[in-house]
């Protein structure tokens, strides 16, 4: 990828890196908390954008991975494992397993059937955790503290936690961008553009799509682990279908396919929701029509509108 097409992403991450310093002029703790949460959901949206934009796999159950990551932290801490990296590894492993098992069924379907299949699995996981009273069931589970990093409780500082989340987001972005440009990324993208052509070249869609599900799920699970730390509380609502829908909305808002667009979409959506909630408690009355307008008039999302040349699928 040329440097020119990476400019928006660089600007975006630079802005995000500077945000905590700007936040000093306002209610810092509140803004840092909000910021960290936004980065975490942006990470989940980023992984979904990879799935949708590169793989044409519209998942309406992506929030399940947020839940998997979050509950991995819960279960790990119950077993005495408090290090974030170890917890993240467990989260990734669980996500990979879930992606493999559900992908085996879901990927047999296409179009709307696929979308509904992902929804079904998301719901199954949701109900499973609702029924687990040992983990708090519907009411959720409160963590005693944030995880440790390299042995020390470094994450208690909001400042440090924000930068951890930003580091995770930046790392995921770089990783996904490179994957898009790799041999694997080409095949995945080709399957999206013209599945018949891809098969005629000798590529079977299933392995590539499954791998994409695994990658996206793993990243979203890491986001889930961070989310558990951010709120120090985990509930099945993390993986409700409404949350999955919101992730899709953030991705679509930002413009599917550009990857950085998903980050932008998440930021705009959450910032808007937060800003509106300060003015009125009727936020959805305003956000709803906004989404409708964007859907009708914004063909390529925010990324497409702001930086058309940099928003094509990373080839």
């Amino acid at each position: 990828m040329t440097m020119r097409s990476q400019t928006p992403a660089i600007l975006l991450f630079a802005g995000l890196a500077l945000f905590p310093f700007v936040a000093r002029f306002g209610a810092q703790a509140y803004l840092l908390t909000l910021g960290a949460r936004t980065l975490i959901l942006a990470l989940a949206a980023l992984s979904l954008d990879f799935l949708v934009g590169q793989g044409a796999l519209i998942s309406f159950g992506h929030a399940a991975y947020l839940g998997i990551g979050a509950y991995a932290v819960v279960l790990a801490s119950m077993a005495g494992i408090n290090d974030l990296l170890a917890q993240a590894l467990i989260a990734v492993a669980a996500a990979a397993l879930f992606a493999a098992l559900t992908g085996y069924v879901s990927l047999r379907a296409t179009g709307v059937y696929y979308i509904m299949s992902t929804l079904a699995f998301g719901q199954m996981l949701y109900f499973l955790f609702v029924s687990l009273s040992a983990l708090g069931g519907d009411d959720g589970y409160t963590l005693s503290s944030r995880s440790r990093l390299f042995g020390e409780p470094r994450l208690t500082s909001d400042f440090a936690f924000y930068y951890l989340c930003l580091a995770a987001l930046a790392l995921a972005y770089v990783m996904l961008t490179r994957i898009c440009g790799s041999r694997f990324g080409r095949v995945l993208n080709a399957i999206r553009q013209n599945p018949l052509r891809a098969r005629a070249l000798g590529f079977r869609p299933f392995p590539s799509r499954l791998a994409a599900c695994l990658i996206a799920g793993a990243i979203a699970a890491v986001a889930g682990a961070l989310l558990a730390n951010q709120s120090e509380f985990v509930a099945p609502a993390f993986m409700s279908w409404q949350r999955s829908g919101e992730l899709l909305v953030m991705t679509i808002l930002g413009g599917v396919g550009s990857l950085w667009g998903a980050v932008l979409g998440a930021i705009i959506y959450l910032a808007l929701e937060e800003a509106l909630s300060l003015l009125t408690d009727q936020t959805h009355v305003l956000i709803g029509p906004l989404l409708i307008v964007v859907a009708i008039f914004g063909r390529r999302g925010l990324a497409g509108a702001l930086a058309p040349k940099a928003s094509g699928s990373a080839a």
């Binding site: 790799s182 080709a190 018949l196 000798g202 079977r204």
Partner: protein
């Protein structure tokens, strides 16, 4: 006499009550160029679909390079070297011409499960891709998105992709459809030059092209193969003439 590269027996496909192909049997020897002709609706495209694996046959067997491939899907057949080109050029519109061909090169060289190296920078992929584009005269358009190419250019790109795949048997589905006479002439020359590289099965309507290229011709009418032989024999065949010309008496 070496066994034929492609051997088909009793191939049949029906859609509902309509038998589109019916008990089709023939062989294609290695290095030969065989053309399939017939009136519209004769079942030629369906036959290509059955051979390439796009459509599951109702009956019959297909042997390719000694293997029974009847149960294999399209991608498996492509990996074995049985490749088709599409009547409506199926290129990857968002990728450049070079990237399209490079992907075909990638399909035949090494693992596609590499996640981090930049495919755009792999000379192992780009060099053969450029060579293929050059052969079909598309090198100048290498970096243009394939979706923006003209109809004739897309056809050439299809052939470049075919070249890059280095197939053993190439199935061409009406490669000259929709081309002007100049483009057709160029296409015929290109395919003639390829005759030494791989075996080909051509479905075509353009009789001049067919007679210029084919070593053998099969005639499909209403899903059945009514004639097979060298071009001159087919040209003189009474049944073929009446199938094409209807009930006109032959003077």
């Amino acid at each position: 006499m070496s066994p034929p590269l492609l051997h088909i027996e009793g191939l049949a496909k029906s859609f509902g009550a309509l038998a589109v192909t019916d008990d089709v049997s023939f062989s294609v020897g290695e290095g030969r160029l065989v053309a399939l002709i017939g009136p519209n609706g004769a079942g030629k495209t369906t036959l290509i679909d059955q051979l390439s694996g796009a459509v599951q046959s109702d009956a019959g067997r297909i042997r390719f390079a000694g293997l029974d491939i009847s149960g294999l899907d399209m991608s498996a057949r492509a990996r074995l070297g049985l490749v088709r080109s599409f009547q409506i050029a199926a290129v990857l519109p968002e990728y450049s011409a070079l990237e399209n061909v490079a992907l075909a090169v990638q399909a035949r060289s090494g693992s596609s499960f590499r996640f981090f190296g930049s495919a755009a920078r792999e000379e192992e992929l780009n060099a053969p891709a450029r060579a293929a584009l050059k052969r079909v005269g598309l090198l100048a358009r290498a970096d243009d998105p394939a979706g923006e190419l003209s109809h004739g250019e897309k056809r050439s790109l299809e052939i470049a992709i075919a070249l890059a795949l280095r197939p053993r048997l190439m199935l061409f589905d009406e490669p000259f459809a929709g081309l002007g006479s100049e483009e057709t002439r160029a296409g015929v020359e290109l395919i003639r030059a390829l005759k030494s590289e791989f075996t080909m099965l051509l479905v075509e309507h353009d009789m001049d092209a067919v007679f210029a290229l084919a070593d053998e011709i099969g005639v499909l009418v209403n899903g059945r193969l009514i004639a097979w032989g060298a071009p001159e024999a087919i040209r003189a065949n009474e049944r073929v003439r009446s199938a094409y010309l209807g009930e006109e008496t032959l003077a």
